[in-house]
Symmetry: C2
Subunit: 457 residues, 2 copies
């Protein structure tokens, strides 16, 4: 790319036309975020100095303390901790898996990671014949006779033709979430799930499973996409091969943890609340950079930007670092419960939990009149590449607020790279681009500004 084209391209140059006060304010917000933003260095600290932070872990406690101190240092009106008991799942020692005596590969070790909340196999491991299926529906066809005593291998990949990778994820993740208990129903002794990711590589994607109360809990692991192909080939070659895996994960007693809340009190309607948040916990792999360190530092940045540019909100604005989104949602539920208890009227909540990529839009769930109102603001956001406003959306942690009539909104960045890193050792700080993270934070601050100023009704 070279000079000539730029004479033409420079007409892209974005400037505040100075037409409306809102255009000016939004331009001020973006300029501050892009010139003096602190989200990126905050994420560097969270990911580099604290690292991954699964609920109940020492790192989760460190992240609570860090975000509490950080918001305090920014001089928000109130910063406090909200107690919540969280599950404490630990991965434990070594995880290993082998194909045993395959004609094609002999005995070959494969890349696996226990699924979150799974029981472990213990040192004995699980050894058995393994059968490949493409989804939950096949189990009934195969029946107890075909499944009992075997390991089930769910191998349906994400649909790469979906432009939204979240849609593709939604179409494949049922195997990971419900697969283990569905398999147990037919007498399976273990479950292997193809990693729910968009890339062919050697990184298993962990993630939560849900055990049904009425079924035995059998151990379950994710296998890397490359090794899912290896295993599938081995099975085509010889469907009597055995599969062995060993995990030492276990669920310990619940632990006291916290949602971390920073607040700027409203000047005119303090009894109305607007929440912006992300989740502080992450899986115990990588650094939880995109999931969801990005959403946390962006949410804190929203309030910091308001203070920095001297915007005093009419309503009370809260940045909430939710705890335990990944394997329990206890923080999100606790926050909604307390909001109800305290009679706090939450008019809107915005969550960023789709990665720190270039912002594209806002999805939402609420009354049609509220949605129409936000959609009417689209011209203010389009100059910043945020054009897709009003499709259905929300966020896991703010979902429980919806029952109180709160308009729930999800920040929607470009989704192409998210599931290359999601829930893996690869979700690290170096995968985050500074400008993309800052544009997201500024887009969120601009929406919160509009909601605060005009309300949602």
């Amino acid at each position: 790319m070279r000079v000539l084209a730029l004479i033409v391209l420079s007409s892209f140059c974005l400037q505040a036309h100075g037409q409306s006060e809102d255009e000016k304010m939004i331009k001020t917000i973006f300029d501050e975020a892009l010139l003096n933003g602190q989200a990126y260095e905050n994420l560097d600290y969270l990911t580099g100095q604290i690292g991954h932070r699964l609920s109940g872990s020492p790192q989760a406690a460190a992240a609570v303390e860090w975000s509490y101190q950080l918001m305090g240092s920014y001089g928000f009106d109130t910063v406090y901790l909200q107690e919540v008991m969280v599950p404490h799942w630990v991965r434990g020692a070594r995880e290993q898996a082998n194909i045993v005596n395959s004609k094609k590969f002999g005995t070959k070790s494969l890349n696996i990671r226990a699924l979150g909340n799974s029981v472990g196999t213990g040192s004995a491991g699980v050894l058995g014949n393994i059968i490949e299926v493409q989804g939950l529906k096949e189990l009934e066809k195969i029946g107890k006779k075909g499944i009992e005593g075997k390991i089930l291998f769910f191998n349906r990949p994400m649909d790469q033709t979906k432009v939204s990778t979240f849609s593709a994820y939604g179409g494949a993740v049922d195997q990971r979430v419900f697969g283990p208990s569905e398999a147990a129903k037919y007498g399976a002794i273990g479950v292997v799930v193809r990693s729910v990711g968009t890339v062919m590589d050697d990184f298993p994607h962990t993630g939560t499973l849900r055990y049904a109360d009425d079924q035995p809990k059998i151990p379950a692991v994710a296998i890397s996409t490359n090794d899912a192909e290896v295993l599938s080939k081995a099975l085509k070659d010889d469907n009597n091969i055995k599969f062995y895996f060993e995990t030492h994960c276990q669920m310990l007693p619940d632990v006291l943890s916290y949602n971390v809340i920073g607040e700027i009190k409203g000047t005119e309607i303090p009894e109305e609340y607007v929440v912006v948040g992300g989740h502080l916990d992450s899986w115990d792999l990588g650094q939880g950079a995109h999931d969801d360190g990005s959403g946390c530092v962006q949410s804190i940045e929203v309030l910091r930007l308001f203070k920095q540019i001297g915007y005093k909100p009419k309503r009370t604005i809260r940045a909430v670092m939710f705890m335990n989104e990944e394997n329990g949602l206890r923080g999100g539920r606790k926050y909604a419960e307390k909001a109800k208890e305290n009679g706090e009227k939450h008019i809107a909540a915005l969550e960023s939990d789709s990665g720190g990529f270039s912002p594209r839009g806002f999805g939402m769930t609420g009354d049609q009149s509220e949605i129409d109102k936000l959609v009417s603001w689209r011209p203010l956001f389009e100059p910043y590449g945020i054009y897709d406003i009003g499709k259905p959306g929300g966020g896991a942690d703010i979902g429980p607020l919806r029952d109180q009539g709160t308009l729930v909104i999800g920040m929607e960045p470009d989704s192409q790279r998210y599931f290359a890193y999601h829930h893996t050792d690869n979700d690290t700080f170096d995968k985050v681009n500074k400008r993309e993270l800052e544009l997201g934070a500024a887009g969120m601050a601009s929406l919160i500004y509009m909601i605060d100023k005009y309300g949602v009704k």
Copy 2:
């Protein structure tokens, strides 16, 4: 990010509504690109097996042969080479630079790279006092007295508040392109330019300079953004410090090279041509992955997709790998010259030279009626995240065709990451996401399909 949100988000799921034939065809194009695309593995070969490929280099010759064979292997109707003489600039041996005897840093070595087309200093190097300026305009104020015998340091950064980084690039790159001859006009002995990039790091960004015919040619180098800050601090501390740099680059005699052209002959109006292209040459740093290996493999993919899905274009469609975009534009000029000579009516040309990132839009230059026609197709592209159609744009290589009345169009992906890698050792294959590259290729193929089917008038 977790399951709950996805029940909501899955409404994002994109499907061909089967309403119109064009919607169906575009869905077919995207599905084929995302499921069986070959752009990514082709880029892997070009960047990994051939590497960077400056005009006149052995690697440029290898890239010509590779793209010629590749398009032949896809069975395009015609594949041929178009001769073009190109400049042959070589970087030569070691490049080094030091601050000499600074109070703050003592003698400290800095990261520099010669600017493309620059003369070298030879082993003697250039040693002198150095003065910092923020742009070309300052030179007149300082005047010959202040500049003569000194080294000029152009240190104006890119404007990070521009949302389009191409716009920010356009606002800073004049220092690199015109700085050396402007400085020579006032008797400067050398030029150091702050790297034109968006990231603070240690990678100098090379790029072309233009020597004025009426000025002595003085050597010029780019300095990394981090070291630009170091040098600036050293100067604030002591404006009498000396700066030393040494380069061994030189311009050799022109070399015979080629544009590489693959063609599918039109079934109804073969005498009308539609071009899709990128440039095959790159700078001699990194691998030229985003600049512009991506545009080359995407352009080849457009024709491959047409053959794969069995679309037989009405008009003659050409994929053109232009040679020498970076430091001469000889290929682009030669192609237009030959098109005129042969009386080939080019109705439209699309260039991809802004990186292999998620596609966002198409910029264009042409008659208003043509632009209006393409803008009216926006609803077909929005489901794929391509929403920004009709702003001014184009491409360096296809620019010369504009004089023949051709509608020139630039592929415009998300721009946030491009100038983190542009013209550096960092422009490597691992910075390219497979789905982003494929979505770009499919978007280009879809636009070429519409232009072929309906024309532009």
